[in-house]
């Protein structure tokens, strides 16, 4: 067998203008779904024709936390769990920017869970993309607040016995105005959902079920990331507007996907301005950014 080593091809991939090519190849494992979710975000940004100077990405820690480092945008890789409050500060200072939080389930739901529910409650105009691979991947496959019951992980070696969170229900009941769930296989629908989430004023939450091949699939003997993609193909059920109490995910169960919530509600800054007017009448100037709207 002959091994042919080619020079790196210089052709330009259409996503290159949105990626930090000096950092590619990325650190993610073969058959990991994260790269696909990044493509969905990049495609969404491109299709929205946003001025990319005005888009910022904030990530926490973990495999998904590395997304900020690969997007060619003003991008912030913060501490574990604190992407949302960091993004909140950024948004309040510069409400003219689109601030997107892109992080994983461990980061956003476990250590950052309190920030998620409170920022959703305040309806801060952020887009949160939560990649759920059911496990702490970066640290070697430990149990997560999303790990389905009976699934094995490095710290639930005999099978998980804790109830996992139902993320769409959590986000919606905390006050999110847009909630959707897709898998990494549903790239086009995911792109549409991200577009809608970015456009939506207020707190939007998109859960993306993505394969973790090296840990979740391996520890549970589920094959490769490709096998998980096939599983999503066979077991995803599109249920737009579903009763969120029914969209929890059991081990290797059907996965309800779709757009679950899309409602109108004044954002944090709208409410602040309303409160200011209520208290001070015409003396109050609507907030237009931390430096007087520049």
């Amino acid at each position: 067998m002959s091994v042919k080593v080619e020079e790196l091809v210089r052709e330009e991939h259409p996503m290159e203008k949105l990626l930090r090519m000096d950092r590619i190849p990325h650190i993610w494992c073969p058959t990991c779904g994260l790269g696909t979710t990044v493509t969905a975000l990049a495609a969404a940004l491109e299709q929205l024709e946003l001025d990319l100077d005005n888009v910022a990405v904030v990530s926490g820690i973990g495999c998904t936390g590395r997304v900020a480092g690969y997007m060619k945008l003003d991008s912030f890789h913060t501490t574990h769990g604190r992407a949302i409050p960091f993004a909140l500060g950024l948004h309040i200072a510069r409400p003219d920017l689109k601030v997107i939080v892109f992080s994983g389930d461990g980061d956003l739901i476990s250590i950052g869970g309190n920030h998620l529910i409170h920022t959703a409650r305040r309806n801060v105009d952020l887009t949160v993309i939560c990649v759920n691979n059911f496990i702490y991947a970066m640290t070697g496959g430990q149990v997560a607040p999303t790990t389905p019951i009976t699934a094995r992980s490095a710290t639930s070696p005999y099978g998980n016995y804790e109830h996992p969170f139902n993320l769409p229900l959590l986000a919606a009941s905390s006050g999110a105005v847009y909630v959707a769930r897709w898998t990494a296989l549903h790239v086009r629908r995911l792109t549409t959902a991200i577009k809608e989430a970015i456009t939506k004023p207020g707190f939007s939450f998109v859960e993306v079920i993505a394969p973790c091949s090296t840990l979740y699939a391996r520890l549970n003997k589920l094959g490769s990331g490709l096998d998980l993609m096939k599983f999503y193909h066979d077991n995803s059920v599109i249920r737009h507007g579903a009763d969120l109490k029914e969209v929890d995910i059991d081990y290797q169960s059907k996965i309800a996907v779709g757009k679950f919530i899309d409602i109108e509600k004044p954002t944090y800054i709208d409410c602040m301005n309303e409160g200011g007017k209520r208290a001070f009448g015409d003396k109050y100037k609507p907030y237009g950014g931390g430096n007087g709207g520049n």
Binding site: D74, H77, R82, L90, I92, M272
Partner: protein, 385 residues
């Protein structure tokens, strides 16, 4: 640049130290405050929340101190002067993102109105036992700047100074006050806006593609890189190179940490602010900071009246520690005394710098009340022997 008159409550006021901190922040042009209630610091947040709506600022009561600290870093990167306040337990929680602020070299101000600890400790009574936490509270190697006001007037002034230092050296700056100063009500004279000098943030003048978030400069401080201007920069709490990209190796770690340390050490003489009195001919020098520097006054006055050659140093900045000055004095005096409401934190630094060249004394206790002048006086008598 001068302060904006809209933000400055020029005149004489009767304010407590916490309100004075808030007025200092507002005068300095702070427009974002992420806070969480905790005794004895809460009045700062309350005052800011009252004053901000008509000044175009945003006060937001975050869900916890972790979020408060993270939010002010975000808003600072959004180009807005930002601040938070807290006390012991909250300070512990903030240490995580204080470290991020150090690593991302983010200008912002954090006020710790110290109470007695450890843990929940003495919520309503003073302490000065967070000084080493201020210095080393977040993991890893770095340098900090910490100021310690002794009065409401100084609280006002030092918060403005802290904002200026944070912009100048591109880092979070700590104001380590305490329950006594925070809740002490005194006359505070707020000068006209044109007498308040503010340092504005230095932004890179390079074009997108050329500017680096942590560009090496001769003074060790990189200009900030503005968001939303097409720079498409990346910053990370991971060990990073000048581009802000994570590089996980010993060489980059060395450069990264050296930059954090050097930028303070290189400017230590400029940053360190001591108020010395009668030190020139002193046989004994008594050092203190914050409220303790006022509490020692009766004892020092009595000692001087008795002919004891005692000098005093009020440390307006505690960190970086005035190492050079203490070493110099240690060769000249019989003893150095440190008065602080803890069992020897800044004392350890003084003792280290004295390096056995003079005797060192600590007047310390666990907090909950200020020092008894008698204890201070007795130590002076002992130290002068």
């Amino acid at each position: 640049m001068k302060a904006d008159p809209k933000n400055v409550l020029t005149g004489s006021h009767y304010l407590d130290g916490n309100y004075a901190c808030a007025e200092g922040a507002i005068a300095a042009g702070c427009k974002f405050f992420g806070g969480y209630p905790i005794t004895p610091s809460t009045e700062i947040a309350e005052r800011v929340s009252q004053r901000f709506p008509l000044l175009g600022g945003v006060f937001i009561q975050m869900e916890d101190e972790l979020a408060s600290m993270a939010s002010i870093l975000g808003s600072s990167w959004g180009g807005v002067k930002s601040m938070s306040c807290t006390s012991g337990p909250g300070f512990s929680l903030m240490m995580e993102n204080f470290g991020l602020g150090i690593m991302l070299e983010t200008p912002c101000v954090l006020v710790n109105v110290q109470r007695g600890g450890p843990s929940t400790g003495l919520p309503t009574l003073p302490g000065q036992a967070d000084m080493m936490q201020a210095r080393w509270g977040s993991h890893g190697d770095y340098e900090v700047i910490a100021l310690a006001p002794d009065s409401p007037q100084e609280s006002f002034e030092l918060v403005i100074h802290a904002f200026n230092l944070s912009e100048k050296y591109r880092m979070p700056v700590l104001v380590m006050t305490d329950e006594c100063v925070g809740h002490m009500t005194e006359k505070v004279v707020i000068p006209p806006a044109e007498e308040i000098e503010l340092l504005e943030r230095k932004y890179t003048d390079k074009k997108p593609g050329e500017a680096l978030p942590f560009e090496p400069t001769s003074d060790g401080v990189s200009p900030m890189i503005p968001i939303g201007k097409g720079h498409k920069f990346h910053i990370t709490g991971l060990t990073h190179d000048y581009r802000g990209y994570p590089v996980i190796n010993a060489e980059t770690q060395e450069k990264n940490v050296r930059r954090l340390i050097d930028k303070v050490n290189m400017h230590a003489d400029e940053i360190i602010w001591l108020e010395e009195k009668d030190v020139e001919d002193a046989e004994v020098v008594i050092m203190a900071y914050g409220i303790s520097s006022r509490v020692i006054q009766p004892a020092v006055a009595k000692a001087r009246k008795e002919g004891i050659k005692i000098g005093q140093i009020k440390m307006v900045t505690v960190w970086p520690f005035p190492e050079k000055r203490v070493r110099e004095l240690a060769g000249k005096v019989k003893s150095l005394i440190m008065v602080e409401m803890n069992y020897g934190q800044v004392f350890l630094e003084m003792d280290r710098c004295a390096a056995g060249k003079c005797r060192t004394y600590l007047v310390g206790h666990a907090g909950g009340t200020v020092h008894n002048a008698v204890d201070v006086y007795n130590t002076i008598k002992e130290a002068v022997k």
